[in-house]
């Protein structure tokens, strides 16, 4: 095992670990944050940075070109679809009368809209 290989291995592990940590952060935020629009923010951490770093970590591990290509396609697909989905979701929620809570933490008018 050459030096380059071990550097590659360590970088891959670091990227994977950081990615999973971000995914976990996003999931914890999704679980803990108090209101819908805050939760979209948490979910988007999973979709962008988390997914990107996990796939980067796998990319550094992959040995064949075909595998790397598929990983890149997955990343590209996620980068196209998740922001679109979040955008459409937030637009729909806003159009439906759900209001983002701004200003003081007591104002809970939008959060309870059924």
């Amino acid at each position: 095992m050459s030096l380059l290989q071990s550097i590659l291995q360590i970088t891959a592990d670091l990227a994977l670990g950081a990615g999973v940590l971000l995914v976990l952060t996003g999931a914890a935020g999704l679980h803990r944050l108090s209101e819908f629009f805050m939760r979209t923010h948490a979910a988007s951490i999973t979709d962008s940075a988390g997914a990107g770093l996990v796939i980067l970590g796998l990319l550094l591990r992959s040995e064949e070109f075909a595998t790397a290509l598929r990983l890149l396609l997955i990343l590209l697909f996620l980068l196209f679809t998740s922001p679109t989905a979040s955008h459409a979701l937030a637009q729909a929620a806003l159009g439906d009368g759900l209001k983002p809570r701004t200003g003081k933490p007591h104002a809970r008018d939008g959060a309870q809209t059924p």
């Binding site: 697909f77 196209f80 679809t81 679109t84 955008h87 459409a88 637009q91 439906d96 059924p114």
Partner: protein, 334 residues
């Protein structure tokens, strides 16, 4: 406990939680979404148990098509169910518990999970599929060779079932197809632009991916069933974003109806062709003179194409059936 087992246990926990939530929650919208989660999790379990083709199908069909069809049905019915009276739930619970206890007792006679000398693994057919199929059929994906060649007759039956079900749904829901079109003012601002641009960008690649899955099924997970659903998913996305009428103009019903039958006919036609060549029904060896393996390849290609065509048109027709029935009634929001 090995790491694999930990993963298994965690997946089972997610599956059980979502299953119980499906039983408890009464807002049917939420239940439909949870059933999507349920399907995705079960597909993950299929991957863990080496059934990659099954996971592929379950993800595309169970999580994709079933959820869309459930939502389509919910749009046409009530979205909140009534409270189940105790008079109904207690006997049902008792029956379920008794049956479950009996089944758990009976499961003691099953071979232990994953052992190498279970009846399934020691049966002579295992050797045939996993070792001889290389010379007989020459396709690396054994699932494809079993599906399309060894058990081709069986698969033909399944395709006919899908054909029949699609025809039946069409009969039930297709009658009142031309629903009234409500006149609507043109939107002042185009706030849906993001979704539309992205969908326009993605749909060609989805269709291309469907073709890849169709023809790569010999070498990796995939095949006609999966490709058909992915192709249909592309059309469904088009219908969702650009409207049903636009989708109906692009993929008209009068093209789908013949295609639905054409797939079954192609499959059956290959069988008849082998009969005429002097062999048994679906005996692909005879399709290429002097080279059974080439004949098998050709046969599997044609048969999978037939499956793909039927499944694609059946899925699109099912979606049109439910979506076209919409009369524009409001849906109670949770």
């Amino acid at each position: 406990m090995s790491g694999w087992m930990l993963i298994d246990v965690a997946l089972f926990a997610i599956l059980l939680c979502s299953g119980i939530a499906i039983a408890k929650i009464r807002q049917l919208f939420a239940v439909a979404m949870l059933s999507g989660i349920f399907s995705l999790t079960s597909a993950c379990i299929f991957v863990m148990q080496d059934a990659v083709d099954v996971a592929f199908t379950e993800a595309a069909v169970g999580a994709g098509m079933t959820t869309v069809l459930l939502l389509g049905a919910l749009a046409l019915t009530r979205t909140r169910e009534k409270l189940t009276p105790t008079a109904r739930s207690v006997p049902a619970l008792l029956v379920a518990l008794t049956t479950g206890a009996l089944l758990v007792h009976a499961s003691g006679d099953l071979p232990a999970f994953g052992i190498e000398d279970s009846p399934v693994q020691t049966h002579p057919v295992t050797e045939r599929y996993l070792v001889s199929s290389v010379e007989e059929i020459g396709v690396p994906n054994v699932v494809t060779s079993v599906l399309a060649s060894y058990r081709g007759y069986d698969t033909f039956g399944e395709v006919v079932v899908i054909f029949t079900a699609a025809v039946a749904v069409l009969m039930l829901l297709g009658q009142r197809a031309p629903r009234e079109v409500r006149e609507r003012a043109a939107p002042m601002r185009d706030r849906q632009r993001v979704l539309r641009v992205i969908a326009k960008l993605l749909i060609p690649f989805i269709l291309l991916f469907g073709l890849y899955v169709q023809f790569h099924g010999d070498y990796g997970p995939g095949g006609g069933f999966q490709a058909g659903v992915i192709f249909a998913a592309g059309v469904v996305l088009y219908a969702l974003v650009f409207g049903l009428d636009a989708a109906r103009a692009a993929v008209p019903m009068r093209a789908l109806r013949p295609l639905l039958a054409a797939g079954v006919l192609l499959y059956g036609g290959v069988g008849v062709a082998t009969l005429l060549l002097g062999g048994a029904f679906l005996d692909y060896d005879l399709l290429a003179a002097e080279d059974p393996v080439a004949g098998q390849h050709l046969g599997i290609l044609l048969v999978e194409l037939g499956v793909g065509i039927t499944v694609t048109s059946a899925m699109i027709m099912l979606f049109y059936g439910f979506a076209g029935r919409g009369i524009g009634r409001g849906v109670g929001r949770s």
